[in-house]
């Protein structure tokens, strides 16, 4: 995150112009942030009624622990959506970044590359891989001006295929303990992964609201030409967002690895649908320029609560998916009604 804050050198005047554009809808935006809260409260009350153990400390820790990885990817996707782009390949980054990191560390007998790097280098490699993938995605969509949706769809397939190829489809089991510690070590009872997600959301929320770089994202997503005219270095800022998103997705991958205890070649597969659902019900606009971190995090929590609730309630397993989908739909409607504005 630190590199983000240090990056652009646009003058104060231009940033103010960008801030002004976003400031006009500030009141509306603030509403938008909390539109999901009524739905969330309704679900929590329902949960407390349905199951005694729903509101216990243990269970709440479980919900947060299970949502940490999703939260990081939603954060990454939200930043990209706000900038007016889209990146579907994040779900594959969630698999391949920790996958490559693990392959560099584990011995050849356990399907690794045989390089047997020390664990900390392997974990460092995870973030580097995430950043590089983000940079490459940025190159394709910013420099080559390819359509972000299609090009990231292609990257999704390529990266998934690379992971399957590199592991020969095998599930990687024998990672050293540090690969899992982000999800298994706790601080004040919460796993580190939850703290990581919380800190990332906090920093992103602060930067988006108060720093000129954050405001530049809204300006670019709202109208790139106007942003450029206002002196924002549109290409460079967008590129940085891609790199940050790649690193965040890699971090999510590490959290998921710790949570699951292994890396399957399918890790993260189909996750992007849940990510999009969480972002959109959290009020992030698919058209760019709108949405807040508070909204995104309520979207993540809502999905986490629903999933936990359905498991605890032991709804008939054949019907779980349908009910899960219906609740997402219901949440969308509620947030539309409570905010009183059209969803984009």
């Amino acid at each position: 995150m630190t590199q983000t804050v240090a990056e652009p050198r646009g003058g104060g005047g231009e940033a103010k112009a960008a801030g002004g554009a976003a400031g006009a809808g500030a009141a509306l935006r603030r509403m938008r942030e909390f539109t999901l809260v009524p739905a969330l409260i309704a679900l929590v009350v329902l949960g407390a009624v349905v199951n005694d153990s729903f509101l216990t400390e243990r269970n709440i820790i479980s919900i947060l622990g299970a949502s940490a990885a999703l939260a990081l990817v939603v954060l990454a996707e939200s930043l990209i959506l706000i900038t007016g782009k889209i990146d579907l390949s994040l779900e594959s980054t969630v698999g391949i970044a920790p996958g490559l990191g693990a392959l560099l560390v584990i011995p050849a007998a356990s399907a690794g590359f045989g390089t047997e790097w020390p664990a900390f280098l392997g974990i460092l490699a995870i973030f580097v891989v995430g950043g590089l993938i983000g940079a490459f995605n940025g190159f394709l969509s910013v420099k080559l001006r390819l359509n972000a949706f299609i090009v990231s769809l292609a990257m999704l397939i390529v990266l998934r295929g690379l992971l399957t190829g590199a592991t020969e489809g095998k599930t990687l089991f024998d990672m050293p303990e540090p690969f899992f510690s982000i999800a298994t070590t706790t601080f004040l009872k919460l796993p580190l992964s939850v703290w990581l997600a919380a800190v990332c959301f906090g920093v992103a929320g602060f930067v988006l609201r108060y720093h000129r770089l954050g405001r530049a994202l809204y300006a670019i997503g709202g109208n790139p030409e106007a942003a450029r005219a206002a002196g924002i270095r549109v290409e460079r800022v967008t590129w940085v967002v891609y790199v940050v998103a790649g690193v965040l997705a890699a971090a999510a991958g590490l959290c998921l690895t710790g949570y699951v205890g292994a890396i399957n070649a399918n890790q993260g597969q189909n996750m992007i649908f849940t990510v999009m659902a969480a972002a959109v019900i959290g009020g992030i606009s698919m058209n760019g320029g709108k949405g807040t971190m508070t909204g995104a995090i309520t979207g993540v929590l809502l999905l986490g609560v629903v999933d936990n609730l359905l498991t605890l309630a032991q709804v008939a397993s054949f019907w779980k998916q349908a009910i899960y989908g219906a609740i997402i739909l219901f949440a969308l409607v509620i947030s539309r009604v409570t905010s009183g504005q059209a969803q984009e």
Binding site: N51, D52, S53, F54, T56, R58, N59, S62, I63, G65, A66, A69, A109, S110, A111, T164, E168, G169, K170, T171, F173, D174, F180, A183, T184, P191, L256, G258, Y259, V260, G261, A262, N264, A265, N266, Q267, Q269, D307, N308, T311, L312, Q314, S317, F318, K320, Q321
Partner: protein, 349 residues
């Protein structure tokens, strides 16, 4: 009820006859070609390669082909996509294979591919999944119902009463359904004191982890777990138990009995360590061996009858008229985990 069954049976037989009838002319045409070559190439189709089980099956195929004297093309992977599987079958047929060994992803969606093969007079052996209809020389499959029952009996005898959870496979797949139904109904009829909880995890590790994580909060008195796919669920299950401080070795009074399904080397390690109790070993080597054995026999024009076989299995006639060789799937526990004949002990990790 009975009436509809008879009607359904009659309809199935009729359609099987009709289908067989449809293909007969091209059958003979293909037959004469094959007769000259006696053998010819065999195509082998894989459903997916992201599970340890199918990887080891994939490794066994060339070995067993050599052993059985079958000439095979490199294996083809359909990557969990039933449509791709049809395309793969067509591609193999276009390469003039004289026999196909296919592991269908879906019992219904494979029928179009089988019809293509029949039109060209190429015999097919189905592995792991029995097609709903269409012409196959033989289905080679371990009985997935038996997996669920074995797991149920083992857990039931061990804990007698209390709560168990089954971490299910994809309920849209026949194997996931069979294991779930068999486990559930066996528990219901044999161990009424046991309450079965369920986690529909769709063969996905993260779903298993979060589901178990949630359930353990509400059910601290959980006594047993059945994982329908050890290859995917082993790590998340152990991880979830560890994070809740509920992982105790077998023998400890607080130990939760765990039965797995698949028989990969990591499960054997966990059994040796006492982390889990047992696993149903899905016979990857036997799948490859008998799949190739039957395709060779079918290409030579041999046919088979229902009844006991010479390799410890039984050929049964399914309601659709298809023959299925139901291979035995041994239950592996601490006592026999080091048995050299288990496929999980013959492959590297």
């Amino acid at each position: 009820m009975i009436r509809t069954k008879i009607l359904a049976g009659a309809a199935a037989t009729l359609s099987a006859v009709l289908l067989a009838g449809c293909g007969s002319t091209s059958d003979s045409g293909g037959g004469t070609q094959a007769g000259g070559a006696k053998g010819g190439k065999v195509g082998v189709g894989l459903p997916l390669l992201t599970s340890p089980f199918w990887q080891s099956y994939n490794n066994y195929v060339p070995q067993m082909a050599k052993q059985e004297g079958v000439d095979i093309l490199p294996t083809v992977n359909s990557n969990s996509d039933p449509t791709q599987q049809i395309t793969d079958i067509n591609n193999l047929l276009n390469q003039n294979v004289r026999g196909l060994v296919i592991a269908p992803l879906d019992s219904a969606a494979i029928v179009a591919g089988l019809n293509q093969a029949e039109r060209k007079g190429v015999p097919v052996v189905a592995v792991d999944v029995a097609p709903d209809k269409g012409k196959v020389a033989m289905v080679v499959r371990a009985n997935n119902m038996a997996y669920g029952e074995k797991a149920c009996k083992y857990l039931g005898d061990k804990i007698k009463s209390g709560k168990v959870v089954q971490i299910q496979g994809d309920l849209a797949s026949v194997n996931g359904r069979d294991r779930s139904t068999a486990f559930r109904s066996c528990m219901k009829s044999n161990y009424p004191q046991i309450k079965v909880l369920e986690i529909p995890a769709e063969w996905k590790a993260e779903k298993a982890a979060s589901g178990l994580d949630s359930l353990l909060n509400a059910n601290q008195d959980l006594k047993g777990i059945y994982m329908q796919a050890g290859g995917v669920y082993l790590a998340p299950t152990l991880q979830a138990l560890k994070s809740k401080n509920m992982l105790f070795k077998a023998g400890d009074p607080k130990h939760i009995s765990i039965v797995s399904n698949d028989g990969i080397p990591q499960e054997f390690d966990a059994i040796r360590k006492g982390e889990i109790d047992a696993t149903v070993s899905q016979p990857a080597d036997a799948y490859a061996k008998w799949g190739l054995y039957y395709i060779k026999a079918a290409m030579e024009g041999k046919t088979f009858q229902p009844g006991k076989t010479d390799h410890g299995s039984e050929i049964v006639k399914l309601p659709s008229g298809i023959l299925e060789d139901q291979l035995p799937a041994p239950l592996v526990t601490k006592e026999n985990v080091d048995d050299k004949s288990l496929w999980g002990n013959t492959v590297g990790k």
